[in-house]
């Protein structure tokens, strides 16, 4: 028998609490694998968000801090300034990063803070019951946009990767998705690269990951993966929006 998927030392092995079909777990694994492959797990400090990943400190096998809603980039800044030789990352949802914590992430990027942000965009507030997020698609039904998001009232989805890429202090910005094996492999490469950029001291790095929320989208897990492909990617195109100068 060939073992094709072994547990990673980057995770504690505690079973995830995420809903069936939720890709938060996949993203955790990719981050954990990247830290192990780079050999930095022992000197990593991770910052958890408020949102469905609020218990991430139970899963990542390294020192972890639980931050207030949206404030993870500020907490990460405090850690990194005290311990500049450590690897510091934040793991944040779209409500956390793109609503209440917009200022913190923008200014961490502007300062060129040498931290890595894993930004999980599932177009909804998962934990609190599927309310509209800044990333909710136009027309998308949520518990607070029962008739679908209307531009006239609720505006447009916020494109975080594109926005952060305009900031000089941001060294690496990419958007990936975890809806297919191919995209998962690409996501892994982007996350690895983001940490490498941090290790090289080049500045702020952010990977936006398009993720599923079958529970709040009211879809089955396979339908949710399809929804990412068909509805989300056209609005949130995948790709690298910024790479360090001199690196192709």
């Amino acid at each position: 028998m060939t073992v094709c998927l072994k547990p990673t030392a980057g995770l504690t092995g505690k079973p995830f609490h995420y809903c069936p079909g939720c890709t938060h777990g996949v993203i955790h694994r990719l981050v954990a694998e990247a830290l192990v492959e780079l050999g930095v797990l022992e000197r990593t400090v991770g910052i958890c968000p408020v949102g469905c990943a609020v218990f991430a400190y139970e899963y990542f096998n390294c020192d972890m801090i639980e931050a207030a809603h949206g404030r993870a980039p500020a907490v990460a800044t405090g850690v990194k300034r005290v311990l500049p030789d450590r690897v510091v990352f934040t793991y944040q949802g779209d409500g956390d990063l793109a609503a209440i914590g917009t200022a913190e992430v923008v200014h961490a990027a502007a300062r060129g803070e040498k931290i890595t942000t894993v930004f999980v965009n599932n177009a909804v507030y998962g934990m609190t019951g599927g309310q509209m997020a800044p990333t909710t698609l136009v027309g998308q039904k949520t518990t607070t946009t029962p008739f679908g998001r209307q531009v006239a009232e609720a505006g447009y989805p916020l494109k975080v990767a594109e926005m952060i890429a305009t900031i000089d202090g941001a060294a690496f910005v990419a958007r990936v998705a975890v809806n297919s094996p191919k995209n998962i492999l690409r996501a892994k490469q982007a996350i690895l690269r983001a940490f490498k950029v941090q290790l090289a001291g080049r500045g702020f790095s952010l990977v936006e990951v398009l993720s599923t929320c079958p529970t709040n989208w009211g879809l089955s897990p396979p339908e949710a993966l399809k929804w990412v492909e068909e509805k989300m990617i056209p609005v949130f195109p995948l790709g690298e929006f910024k790479v360090p100068e001199g690196e192709g």
Partner: protein, 353 residues
Amino acid sequence: MNKVLMKGNEAFGEGAVRAGCRFFFGYPITPQSEIPHYLARRLPQVGGVYLQAESELAAINMVYGAAAAGARVMTSSSSPGISLMQEGISYIACAELPCVIVNIMRGGPGLGNIAPAQGDYFQAVKGGGHGDYRLLVLAPASVQEVIDLMALAFDLADKYRNPVMVVGDGILGQMMEPVELGPLPEVSPPPKPWATTGMLGRKTRNIVNSLYIEPEEMEKVNLRLQEKYRQMAEREKRWEEYRVEDAGLVLVAFGMVARIAKAVVDRLRAADIPAGLIRPVTLYPFPDVPLVRAAERARAFLVVEMNAGQMVEDVRLAVCGRRPVYFYGRTGGMLTTVAEVLSQAEAIWEGLR
């Protein structure tokens, strides 16, 4: 020992540096701006980091991260800025991280003004943010005491793994007084084996957290915190007494107002009115000990504050109905003058006869 003339706000900065603080995160607001001005220059000289945050929300959360990483760290602000920090302060209190927060209070509520006031007493000593928590709160009354209490603040923060707030007002921040500064002391903060510094050979992970989803767990944390606050109350009450031994009328005031009250005591004594002063140095835990003692002899208390009557509630709790407790205060950044307080005190004494 060399004496130097120093501005109060600068003394908050120098006192922090002398206490071994090497990290400052803040956001500008009057009347405390000389603290960041001073530290922006001073911290790099001692290998420290000064960082101007994008807001008070960010500043206090940077403090949270730096404290979690094991550093001696501080922030400073003034009333509206401190309000914005309350979320973070509650998190820091629950996660049991040591840090120092300076509040140079100004006239409020709202945007208020930049004149000296004491209107944030409730916010400082009764919690301020959400949930059941307490800060240790220190209130210096001179520039020298700023230096001394900043050292104490960092020691207490580490000892109890609790945020410590040091409160002053615009007068203390802006006035210059001579202070004694010896050579930069050697500071060795206690080891912080709980800090999130990366495991680096450590067998177990360190987690800094304030999330306890099970009510049983959350209550356990609260009980532990309350036990800590009880120990603080037992060991850390600090105050200054002035001519209280035979006092019939005891004034109670903190910070700069206590210096005005002291002058009033001297004037009353000169007029043969046996007055004294109790000046709480810790506002939390509140030093009820000298009040309980004074209540045996004194006939009345007069609390003087630059607010609408906040500490007077703690004085009444301590005196517990045994003696009348009067209050005199000005708000909005209006100064209490010696003459005003004197006439209040004289009227009270007259009424007792």
